[in-house]
C-alpha cells in the first residue's frame, strides 16, 4: 500500500463533508459580516434639505440629496458646463453645484435626486437623477405629507 491512499483516509467521509460545510459556512458568514461592515461605511444616506441643514453629514462623505429645484435658482457658470441651483423641500435650501450634461427633463420646479458630497456649504453633485416622466417624484419624497408636498410646489412655483 502506497502512502497516498493512507494520507487520504486520514479524513473520514463524514469528516470531509463536515470540513466542506464548515468552509462554506465560514466563507458565507464572512461575506455577510464584511457586507454589513462595508455597508455601514459605504452606503450613501439620503437627505432632504431640512436634514442637510440641521444635521449636515461630515464633509466629503458620499450622500444623496433629494428635493425640488427652486424656480429661478438655476444658473450656468461662464465655462458653460457648470451649473448652480438650489434644492429645497419648502423648509430649507441647499445650494448645489454640478458639472456635466443635465439629464433629460431636468428643469426648474422638477424633482431631483443628486449623488455627491457636501463641500463647505455647497453640495457638489457627481450625478443628477431627474424625473423620468411628468408625474415623477423622487421615491424618497413620496411619504412627505400631502400638505408638505403642496407647500413645496407652491414655494417652488
Amino acid at each position: 500500500m502506497t502512502a497516498e491512499p493512507q494520507r487520504m483516509s486520514v479524513l473520514k467521509p463524514k469528516h470531509q463533508r463536515l470540513v466542506l460545510v464548515l468552509f462554506a459556512l465560514v466563507a458565507l458568514i464572512g461575506a455577510a459580516l464584511m457586507a454589513v461592515y462595508a455597508l455601514r461605511g459605504q452606503a450613501s444616506y439620503f437627505y432632504i434639505p431640512s436634514d442637510m441643514v440641521s444635521h449636515p453629514p461630515e464633509s466629503g462623505r458620499a450622500v444623496r440629496l433629494g428635493g425640488m429645484v427652486q424656480k429661478g435658482s438655476l444658473k450656468t457658470m461662464p465655462d458653460g458646463v457648470t451649473i448652480h441651483f438650489t434644492v429645497t423641500d419648502g423648509k430649507a435650501y441647499v445650494p448645489v453645484r454640478f458639472s456635466g450634461i443635465t439629464p433629460d427633463l431636468f428643469v426648474e420646479g422638477s424633482g431631483v435626486v443628486a449623488d455627491g458630497r457636501m463641500e463647505g456649504g455647497t453640495f457638489v453633485a457627481d450625478n443628477l437623477l431627474a424625473k423620468h416622466d411628468e408625474k415623477y417624484v423622487p421615491r424618497e419624497m413620496k411619504n412627505m405629507t400631502e400638505s408638505d408636498a403642496k407647500q413645496v410646489v407652491a414655494q417652488t412655483k
Partner: protein, 654 residues
Amino acid sequence: MIAEIGLAVLWLAAALAVLQLVVGGLSLRPEGRVLAALVRPVAVMQGVLVLAAFAALIMLFVTTDLSVKLVVENSHSAKPLIFKIAGTWGNHEGSMLMWVTIMAVAGAFVAVIERRLDEATLIATLAGQAFISLGFYAFLLFASNPFARLAQPADEGQGLNPLLQDVGLAFHPPTLYVGYVGLSIAFSFAIGALVTRNVGPGFARAMRPWVLGAWIFLTLGITAGSYWAYYTLGWGGWWFWDPVENASLMPWLAATALLHSVSVLASRDALRTWTVMLGVVAFSMSMVGTFLVRSGILTSVHAFAVDPQRGAFILALLAIDIGGALALFTWRAGTVTEGKRFAFVSREAALVFNNVMLSGILGIVLIGTLYPLVTEAYGVKVSVGAPYFNPAAAMFAFPMFVVMSVGPLLRWRHDRLTGERGARVAWPLLVCAAITLSVLVGLELVAHHITLLPALGLAIASGLFPASMLPLVGRNLRRTPLPVWGMVVAHAGIAVALFGMASESAFSVERLAAMTVGETRDVGPWQVKLASIMPVAGPNWTALEATVAIRYAGAAPVELHPKAETFSNPPGTRNESALKTRWNGQLYVVLGEQATDGRWQMRFWWKPFVPLIWLGGAMVGIGGALALLGRVLTDIRRLVAKDKIAYRRMRQGR
C-alpha cells in the same frame, strides 16, 4: 378576434399545465404508472399553445390593434416594424407572457429530446416545471392579462418610451429571459431528482446541457444589456450596480457555480447535495430578481411597470416555489447519500473553492441590493453603489481568479505538486504569477495614481490570460475535446473582460466642454473639433445632429455624428451618443444642450480597451457554446452507438 383567440389559447395552455402536474404526480405512484405516457405529449402541447398565444400578441402589435389596452399603452402606428415587434415584450404584461412562453417551450423541449434520464425522474421534472408555470399562468391571467380590450378603441397609441426604441430591445430581453427561465429547468431537474431520490452522475449528465444553455444565454444577455446601457444612457458607464442589473447578475453567479458543481457531479460523483441546492438557488435568484424589478420596491433606472399588488403576487409565488423547494430539500437531503471523496489538492477542491467564492459574491450582491429595504424599515434611507460593491465583490473575486488559473491543471481526486508533476504544473504557473507581479509593480512605478482595485485587476488579468491557455499545452490540439476548448475560451474571456473593466476605470479620460462651432479640444490622444450642428428627422423623431471631426494623434480626421433626439409619441428626448472604436479603445461623444450664450455642451470620454469588456463577455458565451456543442455531440454519438448495438442484437435474434 385575434385577442380573444390568444386569451382562449392561453387558458387552454394553463389547463394543460394543471393536467401535466396532476398526471405527473399520479404516475409517480405504482398504481398510476399507466398515466405516465400522457405527460410528454401534454408538455409538448402546452408549449405549442403558449407559443400560439405569444404569436397572437405579436400580431396585435404588428397590426397596431387599437382596441387592445396593452397595444394602446405601448405602441403607435407610426413606429418602425422592428420596434412594433420588440414592443411586444417592452412592457410588463408582454414580458410576462414571454416568460411563460419560454418556460413552456423549454418544458416541451425537454419532453421531446431528453432520453438519458430515467423515466420517473423525467416525469417528476416535468410535473415540477408545470407547477412553477402554473403560478405564472395565474399571475398572467388574473393580474396582468395582456389581451384585455378597451371599451372604446383609442384613436392612436401612446407609443414606446424613446429609450426603448433601440435594436437592443429586440435582443437583450429575450436572451436574458431564455437564461432566467432556462434555470427553471435546472430547478425542476433538482426537484425531480429529489422526489425520485435519484441524485447521481446520471442526473448530472442529463442536467448539464440545460444549465449550460441557460448560462450561455444569461451571459450573452447581460453582456448585451451592459453594452446597450453604455451607449444609450449617455452616462459613459457600463455597469451601474442598479437593482435590475444585480437581478440579472445574481442568477448568473449562481448558475456559474451550478455549472461547475454539476460537472463535478457528472464526472466524479461528488458534491451531490450542494449541486441540488445550487439548482434551487439559481432559479430562486431569477425569481427574486423578477420580484425586485416588477414590484418597484427599489429605485431603479429601469422604470418598469411598478405596481405593489403585482409585487405581492410575485412575492407569494416566490414564497410558494422556493419555500416548497427548500422544504423538499430539507426533507430529502438526508436521503442523498455521500458522494466520492477527494483530497485537498485536487480539481474538485479547486472547484469547491470557486463555488464558495461565487456564493460569497452572490451574498455580497444580494445583501447590498436588499440593504436599502432593510434600513428603510427603520426609517433610514440609503443608496448603495459602486463604493460598496466593487471592493466587497473583489475580495472574493480576486482569490477566485487565482484558483481559477490553477484548478484546470490539477488532476481529479488527488494531485501532488512536487517532483515531476510539480515541474509540469508549477513552473508555467509561476511564470504567470511572475507576469502578474511585474505588471503590478510596473503599474505602481509608472502610474501610481491608479487606485488599488484597477491595478490589481490589470495585473491579475495579465496573468490569468496565459494561465487559462495552459490546459492546452502538451495536448494534440486537433484531438482536444470541444468542452476543453470551451473552458479555455471562457476562462480567457473572463481575463479579457477583467482587463477591459480595470483599464476603463484606471485610464479613462473625461472632458466636459462648452464649444462653439469650429472650436477644437484635446481629449487624451484625440483632437476633437465641433464642425457643425444640423437639424435632421427620422421616422418618429427629430434631432439636432452634430458633426464632430476627430483625429487620433495626428492621423487623418474621421467624422462622428452624436444626436440629441426629440420624440413626439410619447414626448421624450434621448441623447444618441457617437462612438469611434479603435483596437486600443473607444472615443465616446455626447451632444448636450445649447447654453444661453450659444455654446454647445459636449461630453467626451476616451476609454482605453473598454470594448474588451464585451468582447470578453462574448468569449465567455462562445466558450459555453463550444462546451455545449461538445456535450451534445458526445450524447448523439452514444445514442447512435446504442441503437446500432440494439439493431445488431435484434438481427442476431438475441
